[in-house]
């Protein structure tokens, strides 16, 4: 497995053999198809971080459901910031990889 990006306690990987992606949430390793990775990225993108600081999100947590409801996660504000970083970094690395392959 190739490491794509690491942010706080989370790490994303790509596995060429299974043609899948993995995210290590420290206590749990989750396998995602590309479609599921896109869906997770969208969920993370839709997290309103401002609401965590303005008091609109009173509990300061986000509940995300992954991979056709196979997994459920509860993330606090700090983890949400890390998740946003993880998704940005992961997709930047994937784009960089595409560019490198094109160049070769």
């Amino acid at each position: 497995m190739n490491t794509l990006y690491k942010a706080h306690n989370f790490t994303s990987f790509q596995c060429d053999r299974s043609r899948a992606f993995y995210i290590d949430f420290k206590h749990k390793l989750v396998k995602l198809s590309f479609c599921q990775l896109l869906a997770f990225r969208e969920q993370v993108k839709n997290i309103d971080l401002d609401a965590h600081f303005s008091g609109k999100n009173k509990h300061g947590v986000e509940i995300l459901v992954l991979c056709n409801r196979s997994h459920i996660f509860i993330f606090d504000t700090y983890e949400c910031i890390a998740l946003k970083d993880l998704m940005k970094g992961t997709f930047a690395m994937l784009e960089l990889n595409s560019l490198l392959i094109l160049e070769v």
């Binding site: 060429d16 043609r19 896109l38």
Partner: protein, 171 residues
């Protein structure tokens, strides 16, 4: 490392995001035309109402075209959320002016999408969007022709202008 993204997705991820935004815009546009159709119906302007019902259906068709394009190419299209649209207007002329402004906004959005496709070398999406470039040109022309009617028949009763609306689309 394999390019798994390219294996699964024929279009650029950034373009996919922009296309999803475009889906939202087309949905808002479709909903706004419905509001215009409703206003016309309530004011006894039957032809104008039909004109906007048809416009609303067209915008929905545009939205579905983009929706299918994203999914067919391995991406994920998201069902749009439509927030409030304007239901109050002062006159029929204001309704058509709002419709033209809306079309201009959509045109600009399509143009920036094409621009981005060129920047990112996403030729698949650029080719797909060419249809929209042409369509938007026609939509703008249509709205302009209706507004010209108001310039030509300014003092005539609204009913006369409304009677002419179906003819504008057929031109």
């Amino acid at each position: 490392m394999k390019d798994l993204v390219r294996q699964k997705l024929s279009i650029n991820v950034e373009i996919m995001d922009m296309l999803n935004k475009q889906i939202e815009k087309e949905a808002v546009s479709s909903s706004a035309y419905l509001a215009m159709a409703s206003w016309c119906d309530h004011n006894g302007l039957e032809n104008s109402a039909n004109f906007f019902y048809e416009q609303s259906a067209e915008e929905r068709e545009h939205m579905l075209k983009i929706f299918k394009f994203i999914n067919d190419n391995g991406g994920t299209a998201y069902a749009p959320e439509v927030k409030s649209v304007m239901h109050e207007f002062n006159s029929l002329e204001e309704v058509f002016e709002a419709a033209l402004d809306q079309e201009i906004e959509i045109t600009q959005s399509i143009h920036s999408l094409v621009q981005k496709c060129r920047k990112l070398n996403d030729f698949t999406s650029e080719y797909f969007l060419q249809w929209f470039v042409n369509e938007q040109m026609e939509e703008e022309q249509l709205m302009r022709r209706v507004l010209e009617l108001f310039d030509l028949m300014g003092d005539e009763p609204l009913k006369y202008i409304d009677d002419r609306i179906p003819g504008v689309r057929e031109e």
